[in-house]
Symmetry: D2
Subunit: 324 residues, 4 copies
């Protein structure tokens, strides 16, 4: 376990470009593979990512205890060693609980906190706004909003986000709402408000299009498998070379088909399971163990995932040969 | 703060009849009113309830920190003083987190733990079953399942519940699914399986009908306002006096209209807010403060609630007069 | 094809008690089995039902053309021959279209029309109220509202229904919303308004409980398979003999398990498919053909359905013997 | 009323580029303004659109009777006079009913038919596929699939669409699912299958991005207000001038804000209501009457819509002056 020796980056740190949600490697017994996590972070930074998203859905954060979450954040901060900023998810039911979790995480040196609307409760937009305001007032780090209706079962409205941005409550949004129309309106409203918000998309298969639409960056789960492609894609988009961006996106989308290879399993088993299987096949991590109680994806799905990797020439030489 | 001196009731304790979800009185500054909570518990037990449901949705459990939850459980256990069994909600994202919470709660002396399917995650029924199995294996108290799709956004299937009951993983179900057809089938399947499960409904306005359908008890939020009526209703149903049960239910349903008096507010503000306002009007608690960040229901709603109480002759004499 | 020689019953005809939604027997080629339909109607009336619901979901009305719907209604009206009143579904997208359909149906002699909120459109409650008002003004028969959110994807609110009842726009409600709490409040609000509405439930497995709660009748799809049981159940409930009502309900619920025997099929294939298979097994209809493009339930499901019928002694003697 | 004198275009007609869903102008009494409709069609064709989508949601098709639908289709076909192809919506509950409607529409000379999955029914994907197959077999025009989950309440899966395309059942898809990730996968799968499908998006605010992602065209309701902008946008995208495309899209999105000016009304009132108000303000139609029973948007919303038009210099000179 590393110690976070470096001081936190200033509160004005901004997250943009490619900011992968870091997967959490696990040992075969289900415990956290800290050495593997350090290696993964080092790998991602070396590939050129511009920030790290710790303890997101891809990081299986919901499955970990408070103590494990702290250990994961500390490890990621330590391994990134100030080379890129780290934003950490504090996924909890309500504001008081988010604050307690966020305080533990900021103590590890993460540069920003991201959280969702309340879970389990039945709140109005006014109460959701108060939730974010209470959290921002209770923590010592910039706060971001995470909009992921498929998990939270409510959508953060454009008006709410702009209001919170304009008032300095939140500094950015990670949008995983799958609503490109809403995202486009958010970009326009944010521009009209003087751009108080950084806007990241969580949808890794439309990064070229979302960049054209005005996103500031992307949080691609698939970058755990292939970060360099996203860095090239984002660079091309940044310089207005849309044909190159699109070509890179299309290549990555062929890779993204790995998440459709597990059959009849849950969303969590399928998505993170495919990522971990591909990461293991590529030698990025040693084990593809899933957090308890998520089911393994099975050998047949792993074989189909390896075939996709082979087609895209993404297997290490030795593995690729053993595949043939 | 009381200390739970009494030993926990044996694991075979069963919850049946009227088991109210205990509201959590708060002081005007938002902190827990422990003296008020003790008084409420004593009041409920004196009214004749047969068990207490601590840290449920009506208890605003989602809004409290780990430490507050323990304090609430300890207070309820202490005040009930072994006169009725206490089941406590461990509402958390996933199994490891539920286990940690449940262990803290069982240490206060609660007799059973109740929890939901995972929150935030995307799990299959197989994974949800594994979730309950992991929790049961990790705690030292009987486990109940809480089915509340409006908050959890998934329904516990009949097959899942019966399987878990038959295997001794869960001892009962609190059903707040609003699916009377499903509940009826669950009763029949439970009978066919030898009745491994106790079946409680959370829907306080159809207790007579659900009792006819075979429920073992009810968890009525409204009992915080008027427990004696539910005790009379259940007694009538138990002895097969359905006309009396129905008449009592219809009286209670006129009272239940208090929850429709707040307008334009959230579900949490409306339901618990109405209960707390009515409890205060009846002198059962001193303050109707809601947990942060839930909005207050406002003076007009309170006035309409008092009018309903007055109509039903449920205001204390002095208050009733000041109403006129 | 019969001609509806008898005059329509007066507009004050009320539907109460057991009012089955009449299934539509089809020939093996998918065309309507008019002789079979006449026989089914005669059978239901002889079993003691108090009304007939033509062209409902169980009648597969959505799958038939305008001309077929008229033919079905005319056949049911003719075969019932004034012995019981007939209410017919006019299931269409919007008010103008409902009116055209309803006019064609009332010309066949049906006594009342029932319809839903608009389909496909995105309407406000105000617009839904206007929809029912426009229809009532455009037809020459009493109008009923059909609340079936699983198909219409919106719920008719209590306030809307009471308003429409009080204004004489609708005469009753067929509730298939699966919301027993809402139904209970509707009963109470209807009582408070002077009972302008007749209230029927579509949920055949909780008729005893819903009768206790104050329903005026039931529209049980399962009565196509076993009408006499529902008549006995309703009679017991009417005279306050709740133990007998419950016992009959529990017997019928064992029969209702037939709808869970088809596996992996659609809701329409499963429900109506099971009813038709059981009706055929009992000799009530000759063919269990489903409307195009609904899939057949398959021989294995049919075998399981026959086993349930045999257990309940509901197979004809010959068939029962061939079963053994 | 025009007569469709021109022969239908061949079945191989393809719809691509800008294909607006034609609004249906109504007279103040709610009857169809056929002269206004002819004028609108002529206007759209003159602005350079490459096809017309008759009887879509923007055309309020759900609110019209069979006879009105035929009259609308005949008018659009007549006014377009073979200059651009016409595809017409046959929005009905199930396949037999779609076929009857489609046959009436193809008799007016429309070049293709578009329909959705069944409405009201509870069907499996297998049954939905059979639905499209039955329709294609029953009509004499190319069939398109319309994917609009917000109205149909089910999504057409990628596998289903590709299967139907590969088998020649459907010739294209109008995607209004709001799922950009799914659309991107559909583009890729369609490419891999040899491009059997034309793919149009219904989301008018992300046309640049969706064009980059590989769409063949767009069905923009907003083009009823400003068609020329969409033609310029599509031309820029076609020649790979993404900066120009984006700039035009951003201008159109400022215009699209008109649909957020009506407050507290239904989706149908808001969207089409705003379009009609803006069309009237621009002099494209004479009346902004909505189909019964949709509510008018009110004078305040109209004033806000005129202000947006004025800001964008989209009011006619005289109107613009009276605005000032």
């Amino acid at each position: 376990m590393l110690t976070a020796s470096q001081a936190p980056l200033p509160a004005t740190v901004r997250f943009a470009g490619v900011v992968p949600p870091v997967a959490t490697p696990l040992l075969p017994d289900g415990e956290i593979d800290f050495a593997g996590l350090e290696r993964l972070v080092d790998h991602l930074v070396n590939e050129g990512v511009s920030g790290l998203f710790a303890l997101g859905s891809t990081g299986e954060t919901a499955y970990f205890t408070d103590g494990q979450r702290v250990d994961i954040a500390r490890t990621i901060v330590g391994a990134s060693a100030g080379r890129v900023p780290v934003i950490a998810g504090a996924i909890e039911l309500t504001s008081r609980r988010v604050i307690e979790t966020a305080q533990r995480l900021t103590a590890t040196g993460v540069d920003a906190i991201v959280t969702t609307a309340p879970l389990y409760t039945l709140n109005s937009p006014t109460e959701v706004a108060a939730h974010f305001r209470a959290i921002a007032a209770g923590i010592d780090a910039p706060l971001w909003a995470y909009d992921v209706p498929v998990r939270v079962h409510s959508k953060l409205s454009l008006d709410l986000l702009i209001e919170l941005g304009r008032d300095g409550v939140i500094h950015g949004v990670k949008d995983s709402s799958g609503d490109d129309v809403g995202f486009r309106r958010l970009v326009a409203a944010n521009d009209a408000a003087g751009r108080p918000l950084q806007l990241l998309t969580g949808h890794e298969v439309v990064v070229d299009a979302i960049a054209l639409a005005g996103a500031d960056g992307v949080v691609p789960g698939l970058a755990n498998v292939e970060a360099a492609g996203y860095v090239r894609l984002w660079d091309a988009a940044t310089r207005g070379d849309w044909d190159t961006a699109r070509a890179e996106q299309e290549r990555l989308n062929r890779l993204f088909e790995i998440v459709f290879q597990p059959r009849g399993l849950s969303g969590d088993a399928t998505g993170v399971g495919a990522f971990k299987a591909a990461m293991k096949a590529r030698g990025i991590i040693d084990h593809d163990t899933m957090a308890s109680t998520v089911q393994p994806i099975g050998d047949e799905a792993v074989a189909r995932i390896r075939a996709i990797l082979a087609d895209l020439d993404l297997l290490p030489k030795a593995a690729s040969e053993s595949q043939a």
